[in-house]
């Protein structure tokens, strides 16, 4: 599941921006500034009903539960995030 319009692919480590005033506002607060891994690549989805305009490619990003909450179980939270919120996380950083 990869395409030419999406910058990231499944398995890429990414970081969500802490803030992004011009980005898609439907990015939940609890994942902002958090590290995750690309879980699904959706490409550009048109959703004229809910959005004005077309947004950047969409991903479902997998976060360890411990990254986004105070719990330590080996569980995970998967959240839909648009590309403008993500930066690649280098393995050595």
């Amino acid at each position: 599941m990869s395409d030419t319009i999406s910058k990231y692919k499944i398995g890429d480590a990414v970081m969500v921006a802490a803030e992004n005033p011009t980005g898609n506002p439907r990015t939940p607060r609890y994942i902002r500034g958090k590290r995750g891994v690309i879980g699904l690549v959706h490409g550009i989805l048109e959703n004229v009903r809910d959005h004005r305009g077309i947004h950047k490619p969409l991903y479902t990003v997998r976060f360890d539960l411990s990254e986004v909450s105070t719990c330590h179980e080996q569980d995970s939270i998967w959240v839909d995030v648009h590309e403008e919120w993500l930066t690649e996380l280098k393995q050595d950083s």
């Binding site: 939940p28 609890y30 009903r49 959005h51 004005r52 939270i77 839909d80």
Partner: protein
Amino acid sequence: MVTEDNRKERGDYDDFLKIKKKEHHGTLDERMVGVEQDLNDYQELLEVFVQALIRRGWATRDDLAQRWKQLHEERPWAGGVIVAKAWADPDFKQALLTTGREALREMGVHQGKVGKLVVVENSDKVHNVIVCTLCSCYPYDILGDTPWWYKHESYRTNIVQNPRACVKDMFQLEIPTAKELQVWDSTSDVRYFVLPQRPARTEGMSEQELAKLVTIDSLIGAGYALEPSQLREREAAHVEPEMPRVRPD
């Protein structure tokens, strides 16, 4: 009654609705009084609107009663049929998990166009739960209305903060520690539902019978599909939902 597909919705994105949103200030008690007052006003408005519809012949009381029943039925709309087919037909299941809506189109299930559909499968290793922490995104066009708690703030907050405790407290669901709990937080463009595990003691059942075992909770991960004996208990205890009062003309 026909609901237009391009109807106005999602107040936070639609200026048309945004201007109608009221804000309340002051202490919690004062704000609650304000919200109570709003609810009364809206109820009044709704009653007037319903009467106008009936008077103009655009809807009948039977239409409204039927719609009310439909919205309050525990049975998920197409969810049961889809899941039963996936349990019975491995090829369809594979198509459903990989292509989502496309598989449904081939099956002939009526569906609107609320976003991309992703179906996540429960197994002995993974238990999936769906939420929309921002509002109430959900594949309405396929599954019908959400259960009331899906929109409740406590669910939307707790399910991503402490998912195991949340499903235990709210739904008496204890997920074995050997299973990974995966919570899917939908933000509008993708809509999710859970493919529950096929319950025990269902060998040899037809798809039609299997479909009845699928509860709306099991499609969100807040429960398991029913065993046949549990379904019989439920059916024995069934109570018809009561229609809200509409003022006489």
